[in-house]
């Protein structure tokens, strides 16, 4: 029996590996996720068989109750959430996972420090306090990330602490000391200090990081929670925990690096380059910058488009807010019927999660070959007649190239300013995610169309049809 269970765990580990491998390739990703979830199901079933040996009534209720309550809650959240809120949800789930390891570690520590059971061995104590520590930081860090992604005001104010880095260093040192004390003395009390201090650390670590960088932070915290799971695996001698945990740990670190690279930043810069809210912009107030802004109307836009040969649509977060993807597709089809070439320029971090724009446009059945990646389209931007920017802001902000002090400095952008005419559709001159003004809006070849994204596009479609 035991034999079969151990072998089953090996199979489940293999399913995680195969699943993760397939998840990393577009064509097989869906199946990969299914295989990986199958591995998880197998692991849970095996564990249930294993513990079933002597379950009391209460324990049975606890286990089944926990599984049912948690499963239903997770299922409902996952199915009800809107596309635009998925990143927040992932942050939340990650936090809950961290919370789970805190409670596992706490329960295990309480049990093993109970003198009736056995003296706790040093490695149980180490792994237990490590996973409590990592779990707590993950929990609170992810919650702060959730708040930032949800754009809750509370989380977007800078911390009232002058030097968060130094505070963090002190907290981390304290945690190390407490862990050592706990391992050496074998007492439980440092735990009651470790958890609150780790809580503070989780908050102060993530608070100063800009919301735009949250996906990276979440990926990193996720990687750490994987390592915590592996540590737990060492304690209870469970290979599937070790394998799955270290898989997640390693792939999370690589994923973090890849994501940083897509934003052209280093990991240290992401983690320790403190957020500069609004500051560091170009000299001059918004009014000066935006003195030469010209606005336009649907009819004008239709006329401009009528004479164009090559049009590029640059979608951003506003497209998701306005849910304008279907309208945009209709507009593109209309233009294509007139013999105009329409393409979409996809910036890797447009929107609020990597691949956000691909997902939205795919939902509206935009053909895959019309979506061009930034590196592909930038060299040909000079031959574009009209670039229509819909709800994008930071990803087309030339300050990224020109102002080394700006919070987005160094991020590669889509060079719409090279197009003959740029039409920007948004509701106002208010800034985007990075909270900085955008000189593009005042450029000579830019026309602003102030309206909700969906309404604007529908009006343009009507105007084009009226033109004939």
């Amino acid at each position: 029996m035991n034999a079969l269970i151990s072998l089953g765990y090996v199979v489940s580990a293999v399913m995680f590996i195969v699943g993760l491998k397939m998840l990393a390739h577009p064509r097989s990703a869906v199946r990969g996720n299914l295989i990986s979830s199958g591995g998880m199901l197998l692991a849970v079933i095996l564990t249930l068989i294993q513990v079933q040996v002597a379950p009391g009534l209460w324990i049975g209720i606890y286990i089944l109750g926990g599984l049912v309550i948690g499963g239903v809650a997770g299922g409902v959240m996952a199915t009800k959430v809107q596309m635009t809120q998925m990143p927040q949800l992932v942050a939340l789930f990650n936090g809950l996972g961290g919370g789970a390891s805190v409670f596992v570690a706490a329960a295990e520590l309480i049990r093993s420090t109970n003198p009736a059971v056995a003296d706790p061995t040093a490695d149980v104590l180490i792994a237990g306090s490590l996973s409590a520590l990592i779990g707590t930081v993950t929990f609170w860090g992810s919650l702060v990330g959730f708040g930032k992604l949800q754009e809750l005001d509370l989380f977007n104010k800078p911390l009232p602490i002058p030097q968060p880095q130094i505070v963090n260093a002190i907290l981390a040192a304290l945690l190390v000391v407490l862990t050592i004390v706990m391992v050496v003395t074998g007492h439980l009390w440092p735990m009651f200090l470790i958890i609150p201090i780790a809580t503070v650390l989780g908050v102060t670590l993530v608070m100063p990081i800009g919301g735009a960088d949250m996906p990276v932070v979440i990926a990193l915290l996720n990687s750490y929670s994987g390592l915590a799971a592996a540590a737990a695996g060492f304690v209870i001698n469970n290979n599937v925990l070790i394998i799955a945990g270290s898989l997640v740990g390693a792939s999370g670190i690589i994923l973090t690096q890849i994501m940083c690279k897509a934003m052209n930043r280093s990991l240290t810069n992401v983690l320790f380059g403190t957020m500069q809210p609004g500051g560091g912009g170009p000299a001059g107030s918004d009014e000066e910058i935006y003195a030469t802004v010209r606005s336009t109307s649907a009819d004008d836009v239709a006329m401009i488009l009528d004479t164009a040969q090559r049009v590029v649509v640059v979608p951003g977060y506003g497209l998701a807010v306005a849910q304008a993807q279907h309208a945009v597709r209709d507009m593109a089809n209309l233009l294509a019927e007139k013999g105009i070439e329409v393409e979409y320029a996809i910036h890797p971090v447009a929107g609020r999660m990597p691949g956000h724009m691909n997902v939205l446009l795919a939902e509206a059945d935009v053909p895959y070959d019309k979506l061009k990646e930034m590196d592909e389209i930038n060299p040909t931007m000079g031959q574009v007649d009209v670039a229509i920017v819909i709800g994008a802001n930071d990803v087309v902000n030339p300050l990224a190239n020109t102002d080394p002090n700006s919070p987005i400095a160094g991020m590669p952008i889509i060079n719409v300013d090279k197009a003959r005419t740029v039409i920007v559709i948004k509701r106002s001159l208010s800034p985007g995610f990075a909270k900085i003004p955008n000189p593009l809006f005042a450029a000579d070849n830019t026309l602003m169309y102030f309206a909700d994204g969906k309404k604007a596009v529908l009006d343009i479609v009507t105007a084009i049809k009226e033109l004939g």
């Binding site: 577009p26 064509r27 869906v30 996720n33 990986s36 692991a43 564990t47 249930l48 513990v51 606890y62 926990g66 599984l67 309550i69 948690g70 499963g71 809650a73 997770g74 299922g75 959240m77 199915t79 998925m86 992932v90 789930f93 990650n94 809950l96 996972g97 789970a100 390891s101 409670f103 596992v104 329960a107 295990e108 309480i110 049990r111 061995t121 040093a122 490695d123 180490i126 996906p215 979440i218 060492f234 925990l241 070790i242 394998i243 799955a244 945990g245 270290s246 898989l247 997640v248 390693a250 792939s251 999370g252 690589i254 994923l255 890849i258 994501m259 990597p354 691949g355 997902v359 795919a362």
Partner: protein, 155 residues
């Protein structure tokens, strides 16, 4: 393409060495301690010699198991590094969410704790852990699936 991969490989090596180092205290203990691991079969031992023999065997087993675990850890870290190279940006979010779901494997630990404890408070902690982990696992896989489904339609 080659240079970054090699860099990754150095990275992996560094990480592995660092973690091996981290794991040191734990194996040092394994060597020093000579008590049977908590999950060894419960047997009635009558003589001192037998006890010693068992203890020696247990120590040896503990040591062997630890090295095996370490090996498995190192290999899995390698596989993790290898699998996630050159992922297209489109897949970053689903991949993050999918690997978050995999890290919900700590549900196994939660189940064992919830079932294995005798003291009331730690069983209740186990219950909370199972609940949270279940949210993470079920929600994580479902939301990943929903994201991926969106891409599925177009290929």
């Amino acid at each position: 393409m080659n240079p970054p991969r090699i860099m990754n490989c150095r990275w992996a090596l560094l990480l592995v060495l660092g973690l091996t180092y981290l794991a040191m205290p734990s194996w040092a203990t394994a060597q020093g301690d000579a008590e049977p691991p908590p999950d060894s079969p419960v047997v009635v031992v009558e003589t001192r010699t037998a006890e010693e023999a068992l203890a020696a065997a247990a120590q040896q087993q503990k040591w062997t198991t630890l090295v095996a675990s370490l090996t498995i850890f190192v290999l899995a870290v390698f596989i993790g590094f290898e699998l996630i190279t050159k992922v297209p940006p489109t897949l970053h979010t689903p991949l993050m969410s999918g690997s978050n779901a995999i890290s919900g494997i700590s549900i196994v630990g939660a189940l064992l704790v919830a079932a294995g404890t005798d003291s009331g408070i730690s069983a209740f902690f186990g219950f909370i852990a199972v609940t949270l982990a279940a949210v993470n696992v079920v929600g994580g896989y479902l939301v990943t699936h929903r994201m991926l489904e969106m891409f599925g339609s177009r290929r």
